[in-house]
Structure formats: C-alpha cells, structure tokens
Amino acid sequence: METTTLDPAAAAAGTGWKTICRLEDIPVLGARVVASRQGDIAIFRTADDEIFAMHDKCPHKGGPLSQGIVHGRQVTCPLHGWKIELESGEAVAPDVGCAGRFEVRLVDGRVMLRA
C-alpha cells in the first residue's frame, strides 16, 4: 500500500484545502490516517457524521489517537486511555495536553482537510 503526501506547496502556504476521501471511507465512530508533511493526521467521524482532525499523536505519550475508540465527541487513546476532545484536541480533565487540531470540512460527501 502506498502513502502519498499532501500537496507540499499548498501545505506550505497553509491555505490549501485538499480532498482526502469520501465520508463513507471513514467508519462511523472511527478514524482514518492521512500522511502529511506535519506528520500523521487523524480524521474522525462521529455517530452524527461530524468530522474532526488532529495530529495522530496523543499529548500523553504520543499514542496513535486514530486507533482509539470514538464516543460522543471524544476519542479514548489506545495506549493509556486518556480522553481527547475531538473539537479542540484538548485532553479531558483531570489530564492536561492538546493534540493540535486541523480544519476539516465536508463538501458534498467529500472530506476536505486544510493542513
């Protein structure tokens, strides 16, 4: 399986919206990983088909958040169970830390990411 990097020019300019996949390519209450120049980005889909994106790196010890369990608007990290808010990338109290979010939007069923 090959992995492609996001358009480097657009990423550098910080303006480029890129189509990543279709909504149905992401499982409900699941996630997919996008390789980017800024490292792996996790894109999550909630039960209500909202989508969110953040670094695929838990603020605790770098666990791959994309592999966690999604519930409500949170994901539980697979390594030690921190909960991260999908909207902000912030860890749920009493834990502290932020995974850093990216902008994503849904256009006609296409998932677009700005990274």
Partner: protein, 818 residues
C-alpha cells in the same frame, strides 16, 4: 417549562450528596432551596476529628463552599433552622420567618447528640461533639483549661479524647460498659486498644456511672462526680454517649417517626416517607426497615437511590447496608464490621499476637464471614468486609484467610501491603508512579470518597489494578468508615449507565438485544454512544449471548481486536502466529524468518506462551505479513483464547502418562476463535510433574495414569492464584467436553474483563461443579452452545489478507492518499 420546586431541610453530608447525585441526573428539573441550621456550606463532618487533633484545618474540610450553591443555582439559607412544615400548603418556615414552597421536600436533618439526664448537664463547659461550633469550643477550651473528661468511649468519644490530648489536655475517658467501644470491639481487641491509648497518655475509668457534673466558683463545670462518690476535676466535659435521629421537625408535621426503640423518620426503599409521598428523607434522621445508620457510607447509598427517584427515573431501591468502622486515631489501627458476638452456629478464627500487638478475629457462619474485628493490622479489613458483603463462600480459602489477601499473591509493590505503615513517599501504584502522599492529599483536598474518584484524580489503580487493595486501604484509613468498597456486583459498568454488568447481561438475554444502539436504548444509556469502557463490554455481551445473530461492532472493540495485532508503545504492532500446543515445523520457522527479513521486523521473541512474537510491524504491513506467513492468528491481542501450553508428554517423555501435546493441540483447535470476557489460557501436562504449569491456568489439564485431572480458575498474572481441582475424567472426549462446558459457563456469565479466577471467586466453585460436573445434561448443553458459537469462525488474518477481502475489512490498514 416551569420547574418543580425542591426544598431541602438540613445542609449536611447526606442531603448535599443527594443533591449532587440529583444534579448529575437531572440538572434542570428543579428550583432548589436549602435550609441549613449551621452558618456554613457543606463540610466533611468526619474530618472534624483531624481538625480537633490539629492535623487539618477547617477550610480543608469544606466539601461544598458557597460558590458551589451559586454555580448550581441553589438558594441557600445558611444559619436558618426550619421550625415548621405545612404539608397542606406545602411550605416550610424557618425560625427567622423565611418561608419556601415545595413540590417535593427532602429532609436531611441528621441526628442530635444524646445527653443523658445528668444534673449539671447545662453548665458552661459541657459540650457534645457534633459540629464546627462544638469543635471550635473544644479547641478554645483546650487552650485555657487543663482537665477534660469525655463521657462515652465509643468512636466519637475516643476521637474527641485523642484530639484534646494532642492539644495538651489531661484527658480521662469515662465509660459505663466494662470495655471501650463495646459495640464495635470484643474484649480482647478493646483491651489492646485501651493499652495503646493509655501509652499515649489517655486515662480511663470504666464501668463508672456519672452522678453529676459539679459547678465551680466561676459558674463553669469544675468536676465530675460518680455514683460511688469519687470526683475528678474537669473544666471541659464532652458528652459522647450516642446520637439520636433528629426527627422532631418531621414528627411535628405528622410524619410517622416510629415508637419505642426504633425512632426516626420512617421511609420506604425509595427513601420516601411512609406518610407523605411528596416528602423524602435521607441520612441519620431516617429509620429504614427499622435501622438508623450513623456512618456516611450507607447514607450516601440512600442519597443515590433518593436522587434517582427525585429525578423521576424510578429505578433503584435502597435495601439496607452492612457497615464497618475504623477509628481515626493516627498510629492506631482498629477495624470492625458486622456481627462479632458469635453465638449459635458460628465459628471463629482468631489470631492473637500479644507481643506484636496484633489481634484478628473472624466470625463465620456456614462458611461465610459475618463479623470481623481487627486490631494492629487492619490491612485486610476492606477485603474481609467485601467478602462479608458479597456473602462469599470462603471454604476454599479458609486455611489462609487469616493471613490476608496479599498472602494469595501480589506483585509489583515490593511486597508492600500495609497502607498505614507506608511512608508518604512510598510508591503505591507501580504502573503510574503514584506515591501514598499524593493519594492522601487528593483524598483530603478534593473530598474523595470512592475508589473511582481516586483513580480519576491520581491515576493510581487505573492501569493494571494490582494496587487497588492498597488504594482502598489508604482511602479507608483516611476517611474512616466513610469508605465503603463497592462490590462489582452492583457497580455500574461505567459513568454512561446506572446498570451493573449483571443487569446488562440479563437484559441482553431477556430482551434479546442484538445491536449496541438497541441495548443502549433499552437500558437508558446516558451518553449517545457510550465510552471506551462500556462499548467493548456491550459488544461482548451481545456476541456471546447471541452468536451468529448479534452484530459484532469493530468500532466497539479495542484497537488490538480491530487490527488483529497488539499495539506497541510506538504505534507499531506485534504479530503472534498460532502454534497449536506450542508445536511448530521447520517450514513455519523458515517462513517466519523470511517475513522478519522481508519486512525488516526489528524484534523476534519467544513468548511466555510457547510461540513466536514478531514485534515492531508497521500497521500498513500487517496484511502482507499475514499473507506471507500463511499461519493463523494467535489472538495474542484478544479477550479470547490465547494459548494452550503443553509439555512433551507421553509422546517423548520418559515420565509421561498421557499424550499431552496431542491433547493440547486438540483443545486449542477446538477453541479457535473463542471470544471471552477476558483472555483464556490453558495448559496440558503429561504427568503430575506438570512442566506446562497447568496449575496457574484458566483451565489446567494434568495427565495421570488413569486419565486426566482438570483444574480451573488459575491465574499467573497480577495476582498469582492456584487453579482449583474441578474433577477427574477418563477420556480425551471428556476433557474436551468438561473444559468446553466450563469455558462456556464463564463466557455466558462472566463480566467483561473478569478472568476465570474472579468469576469463580464470585460464583463459588461449588456452583461451577454443580453446573458442569454434577449435571450431565447441562454440561452437554453448555458444550453444544460453545461449539455452536465457534462454528464457521474464519481466521481473521486470512480474511483480511485475502485479495478479495471486503474493503471494510481492509481499509483500516491503509493510510489515506490525498
């Protein structure tokens, strides 16, 4: 929508806890007004003792400050005592004329100290010990006077005496009975306690009846006189002769408050007063099924049930509590629970080490603990109490019961097992590096009462859980009897629901629930799609109860079971192919070697489970690795069958009596693809030398000349537990059937993440024997259900590696392309 009006009378521990629970369920249902006779927010009354002893300060023991009431929109009338309830107009009125109307009324007026009718009891300098004002008055007196007398050597009296002594007073404790704390301790333990308190400087006058409190020249109390004429000086007298439910207000409003010995506001199991369904009551003011409680643990349980009904959920009943007590005197460990008076039909186990200052007495009835008194070493108090509350049959562990839970094996804390004796800097939780001081501080500062709270705030006991017992002890010794271990039986699965594992299992079966959304709907889940704790549990209950019918939901499985490999700390995976019975072939080994080369797999390791682990595989490579290996999944990642370890057995070994390798291979093949509440490991040894270590497996099989011995519920992990003998069988077929039936019983009844050892502890080995050994028809039925569930199971690796695999199966391994 117009909100209902809830008025609460009594701003103490039970009442406010009820409000907290209510706000969790239904934050917007009521406009809430609270009347409290004390001019404070809600504070932790229990910790008045450390305050008196100078170990804590008043601000430290506040549980809900005035901001809390404001934030939750609660109108608080602090310092106003309600004097009248008008049940017709549904109104209460306080002593200063403040009134409030209610739709529902909650009475939580606590109790009042009982002061015996002794002449002189109204003199200045004579106090009870109940609230902040009393504590302040005692502290003030300790600064000015020398002699104090405490009347009553119960918990409260001794804690008061200890505090006054630490504040420099000369303290004598006067007690009517022949020994101290006679309601909680037997004579032997009481004598030991008295001796150590005397060593600290406390004086005792036992079997003494007070005749009068004598007035001094300044009008203040000056001495205590006894019936025998003797007199001792006292400028401070603390009366701690017991408490009485404070029901006067309720009784004046016509609510039934009992008569004779059982007095208190009478409530039903829903915490509603028996007289007026609009009026609820909780706490020490209540008499429930003829019992008035004086410790917070049961009161909090009442609060939980009451909140549930106030929130209109209508589930949950309070059915009474078993209580335990601990004396909060620093440096002294006393624990008591249940009925230790002995008597007909009871037996006792006693350990008495006078020199070492340790006394333990357990009272058993029909192999169940009904009472416990511990002195000097209370480390196992919480454990005994749990066994007692669960009514667990202790027959099997009876010979080492006395030596405590840790005697059953415990790793990872340097063998440390006495919370009280540990230094603040000692590490309690080896996984998260949390030391005792951090836990104690969090408990005190954040007002934590439950194990869950402590886990959340400190992370202690939140990983492998082996330090749970220690953390419970620390909780118990910090908050005293307020700590009540929650039994797994009735603990909710997680914060998303009120239901316990048992209730969920039952509902899945009885309502034939087939999907997670259905189950959540039917059971009134509080969150839209659960959390990482409940979803995997629900998923397991569905697929184990309704195999081939319920929908298995990959998104509700932990990543390992979704990716069919074990996630590593760096996000790579490990791959453990199945080697039935630990047997392999040159061809398999060659393929493993080739795969390791081809995919640059950094580590190849022989596991403790007799097979080979390829560690550090990139997720994207997994399907290719599986394809090239051409071996089946070893499920090293699953709550499922793991390994069947074997020894060489009669096939080769000079001692072997049975062909253990073949038996192991057959068992492992039969169980392929078996999901279970937790992982399951088996072992088969060819003779009693037991080289396959069958004695610490979920199912252990040991060959003997005449057949096979079967052992169940062993565990070699966090807490090493030796497997228990189930039965002996003659043939290979019987080994398969009995082991299969036992595992199916566990699959159907075990709670998620409960290993066989915990399951069997919970239900008892006798029960397992009854269902699996003695009842042949049931055994066969169980076995058939197991085989049915396992029928047609596909190797997940082959499935996902196949070219034609469904995209949903494959896509998780693919990184997206932009």
């Amino acid at each position: 929508m117009k909100r209902m009006k809830l008025v609460m009378v009594g701003n103490g521990m039970a009442g406010v806890r009820t409000l907290e629970e209510l706000l969790k369920h239904a934050p917007d249902l009521y406009d809430i007004t609270v009347f409290g006779a004390e001019p404070h927010g809600n504070y932790n009354r229990i910790l008045l003792s450390p305050v008196l002893a100078g170990e804590m300060t008043l601000p430290e023991i506040m549980l809900n400050d005035l901001d809390w009431y404001r934030e939750h929109g609660i109108t608080l009338h602090a310092g106003k005592r309600v004097t009248q309830i008008d049940r017709v107009r549904r109104r209460v009125v306080a002593d200063d004329g403040t009134g409030a109307e209610y739709d529902r009324l909650l009475l939580a007026t606590g109790s009042t100290p009982f002061i015996p009718p002794i002449p002189g009891k109204a003199l200045p300098g004579v106090l009870a010990y109940r609230d902040i004002a009393d504590t302040e008055a005692m502290i003030e007196a300790a600064g000015r006077y020398r002699h104090a007398v405490v009347i009553g050597a119960g918990l409260l009296g001794l804690e008061a005496a200890n505090g006054l002594m630490l504040r420099g007073m000369d303290v004598t404790v006067v007690h009517l009975a022949d020994w101290i704390m006679e309601r909680q301790l037997d004579r032997a333990a009481a004598d030991m306690l008295q001796a150590s308190l005397e060593a600290k400087g406390m004086k005792f006058l036992l079997a003494r009846q007070t005749d009068a409190l004598v007035e001094g020249e300044d009008g203040r109390v000056a001495a205590v006189r006894f019936k025998d004429g003797a007199e001792i000086p006292a400028q401070l007298v603390v009366v701690a002769a017991g408490i009485r439910p404070n029901y006067a207000l309720a009784e004046s409003a016509g609510l039934y408050c009992g008569e004779g010995r059982v007095r208190g506001i009478h409530v039903s199991d829903t915490m509603q007063t028996v007289t007026d369904p609009r009026i609820y009551a909780v706490g020490e003011c209540v008499a429930h099924r003829g019992v008035a409680y004086g410790l917070v643990a049961p009161l909090f349980e009442q609060g939980k049930v009451c909140a549930n009904h106030l929130a209109n959920f209508g589930i949950g009943r309070y059915e009474g509590s078993v209580t335990s007590t601990k004396l909060k005197v620093t440096g002294i460990d006393v624990f008591s629970a249940g009925d230790f008076s002995g008597g007909d039909g009871t037996e006792e186990i006693v350990l008495h080490d006078r020199q070492g200052g340790v006394y333990k007495r357990l009272v058993l009835r029909a192999n169940r603990i009904v009472g416990a008194v511990l002195y000097g070493d209370t480390a196992d108090g919480a454990w005994y109490f749990q066994l007692m509350k669960d009514g667990q049959d202790v027959g099997a562990i009876r010979d080492h019961l006395m030596f405590g839970q840790n005697h059953l094996g415990d790793t990872g804390h340097k063998g440390e097992n006495k919370a009280a004796a540990m230094a603040d800097t000692a590490e309690v939780c080896g996984c998260n590096g949390v030391c005792k001081g951090t836990i104690v501080k969090a408990i005190k500062e954040k007002g934590l009462f439950t194990l869950d709270d402590v886990k959340k705030h400190t992370k202690a006991a939140s990983s492998c859980g082996s330090c749970t017992g220690l953390v419970e002890q620390i909780l118990a010794s910090t908050v005293g009897g307020a700590y009540q271990a929650v039994s797994a039986h009735d603990k909710p699965v997680c914060g998303c629901t009120e239901h316990s594992h048992g209730e969920v299992r039952k509902a899945v079966r009885e309502l034939k629930l087939l999907t997670i959304p259905d189950a959540m709907r039917a059971l009134g889940w509080k969150t839209p799609n659960g959390c990482a704790t409940c979803r995997p549990a629900l998923n397991y209950y569905l697929i184990s109860t309704w195999p081939h019918e319920a929908q298995d939901d990959p998104q509700s499985r932990f990543v390992n079971e979704r990716a069919h490999a074990n996630i590593q700390k760096d996000g790579t995976y490990s791959v453990v192919p199945r080697m039935l019975g630990g047997l392999t072939t040159p061809d398999e080994l060659r393929r493993i070697a080739d795969v390791a080369d081809k995919y640059a797999i950094p580590t190849v390791k022989v596991t403790g489970g007799q097979r080979i682990d390829l560690l550090g595989v990139k997720k994207d490579d997994l399907p290719k690795v599986w394809k090239d290996l051409g071996m089946a999944s070893g499920h090293a990642y699953g709550k499922s069958i793991r390994t069947v370890k074997t020894c060489v057995g009669a096939e080769h070994c000079r001692f072997g009596t049975q062909r253990s390798m073949a038996m192991g291979v057959d068992l492992e093949r039969m169980l392929f693809g078996m999901w279970s509440p937790h992982k399951v490991k088996l072992a088969v040894s060819g003779c009693p030398r037991n080289c396959a270590e069958a004695g610490i497996k979920d199912v252990g099989v040991i060959g003997v000349d005449s057949g096979w011995e079967l052992y169940v519920a062993g565990n070699g992990g966090i807490k090493t537990e030796v497997a228990q003998f189930l039965c002996k069988v003659a043939s290979r077929e019987e080994v398969m059937e009995y082991s299969g039936a036992f595992l199916q019983l566990y699959r159907e009844e075990g709670y998620y993440l409960e290993r066989t050892v915990h399951y069997v502890h919970r239900v008892g080995l006798d029960y397992v024997k009854l269902r699996v050994v003695e009842d042949a028809a049931n055994r066969q039925a169980l076995f058939e259900r197991l085989l049915y569930a396992l029928r047609d199971y596909e190797d997940p690796w082959a499935e996902r590696a196949a070219e034609a695999a469904a995209p949903v199966l494959k896509r998780q391994f693919e990184t997206l392309e932009a």
